[in-house]
Symmetry: C2
Subunit: 301 residues, 2 copies
């Protein structure tokens, strides 16, 4: 699939344990023109499946509406149990700009899909992150607080009236959260020490919540098998806090303890731009453009 | 154009001054299925044009045969003058593996096209670099020595019998050289000094010919306008001598003179792999694969 414009969506649905239901859901959203299912990660403890989709704006809209339709039929939150907080059968569906797409286009698409979901299925819709209508709705966790069980009351409060749809939860589906956000890059840096304190201190130094970089979440992790520690990071906006900057900060902080970076690990996917930016940075290039990459040049009109 | 396998070819033709002839040549090789003309660089002093093509194996074969056909019609080396050494109307045509293609496939294609050119047009063909039949024919300059004017005699020597075609030059076309080589990356590193001696010394240290890295050609260049010097490099096998290693060696050598790298410049195109390798190296990734790049994942079957 070679699209000029690419949007990603990573809907989280409240089902992972019933194989047959999951298979039927995937069958329904499969094969829609200009879309692809990139990855499906069911988590049994959470009873929640993370689905990665990508495609054109029109394709994704069709695919997500189909997902809402089939999940409405197949998932009843009154029967649902799992460790992860959730407020709806399709709990959350972010839209993510990947290639030649602006965040504004993703916000518009989020609102377009949200309005359609509300109208067609009578499901209350909340908009979050870049699509949020108020500051309090920017944060997903904040919207979801109370979960399915608490939303019956929460939704009646004026400040929690949904952005689209009725001010009462759908009896079996609950509510849903749709929005636009940057792609998330999960990047772990391994250190040449078994001292978890050092990993924790570095994590604390680089993460936003304790004074570090604006778009970094981080924690120290022990890798028992290798007897080393790791700074495990989520980079929530690689354009504003690039991978290389976060890694160099970890390296710098580690040096303070006489510890070296011994390796690193990208978990899942990364936009090409984040890789280009990294090469550009370290090679100190003055005027590099992605169209200088032969494969990209070949794909241009 | 989204091909699974990509080969590049950079034929050099002995014409740059006659616009109408050049236009007609380009018209003839344009629009061939599964090929693209990436770039056309005429050099008036050399009276020579460098054409960058890319495509599938079959597409490129059709395109190059068409190029030989039209150049045979339009270019007469008996009338040709220019500063650059040349022995044929299509002087040289390398085949270059870019994506999911081995060097062996490019060698096979070079021989296939060479044999066809000899048979169809009665042009003597020499194979060079990875396609060379003897060590002496590996080097293009070595084959071309004597040029068009000298080849009338050179071709009669048993050691210079062509790999394909008659042992006499084509009266108007001359001979041609076809082969397989790695993509060439032209990469310049700018230094925070105006002392050309320093650039020259660093160039000498990093280049193969004077003891440096196996696949680096380099020279010092003065950038008059910016009043700084540059180490200008050609990297002739980025898999064996990667960009980052050459750049880090320049950096290291520059440090010996107390000079910093202030920037760098990629001239022309680069294969995506060379960029991935760079990010991989500096981020010290343990198990990165190009299919972790979202755009690549999307293009897989």
């Amino acid at each position: 699939m070679n699209l000029t414009k690419i949007i990603e969506s990573v809907p989280n649905i409240s089902e992972a344990r019933r194989d047959d239901v999951l298979a039927e859901i995937l069958k329904e959203i499969h094969g829609i023109p200009d879309t692809r299912i990139l990855d499906v990660k069911p988590d049994l403890d959470h009873n929640r499946t993370v689905i990665s989709l990508a495609g054109s704006s029109e394709g994704l809209k069709t695919q997500l509406l189909k997902l809402y339709e089939v999940c409405l039929k197949k998932i009843d939150l009154r029967q649902h149990q799992g460790e992860h907080p959730r407020a709806g059968a399709v709990d959350v569906a972010p839209l993510i700009p990947i290639k030649n797409v602006t965040m504004e286009e993703c916000v518009r698409l989020a609102k377009d899909i949200g309005s359609e979901v509300a109208q067609r299925f009578e499901i209350p819709v909340y908009l979050y992150e870049f699509a949020a209508s108020t500051e309090a709705r920017r944060d997903l966790a904040n919207i979801r607080k109370g979960e399915f069980e608490g939303f019956m009351e929460k939704i009646l409060k004026p400040e929690w009236a949904p952005d689209f749809g009725p001010a009462q939860i759908h009896p079996s589906f609950g509510v849903t959260v749709i929005g636009a956000r940057m792609p998330l890059i999960a990047f772990n840096v391994n250190l040449g020490t078994a001292d978890i304190q050092i990993a924790n201190k570095i994590a604390k130094a680089v993460r936003h919540s304790s004074g570090g970089l604006r778009f970094v979440k981080a924690m120290g992790v022990m890798l028992q098998e290798r007897n080393i520690v790791q700074v495990s990071m989520n980079l929530t906006d690689y354009k504003k806090t690039p991978v290389y900057r976060a890694v160099e900060m970890v390296r710098r902080e580690a040096a303070r303890y006489g510890v070296n970076v011994v390796g690193s690990e990208l978990v899942g996917l990364i936009p090409a731009e984040a890789i280009y930016d990294t090469a550009d940075y370290y090679l100190q290039m003055e005027s590099f453009t992605p169209s200088q990459i032969l494969e990209n040049k070949l794909m241009e009109e």
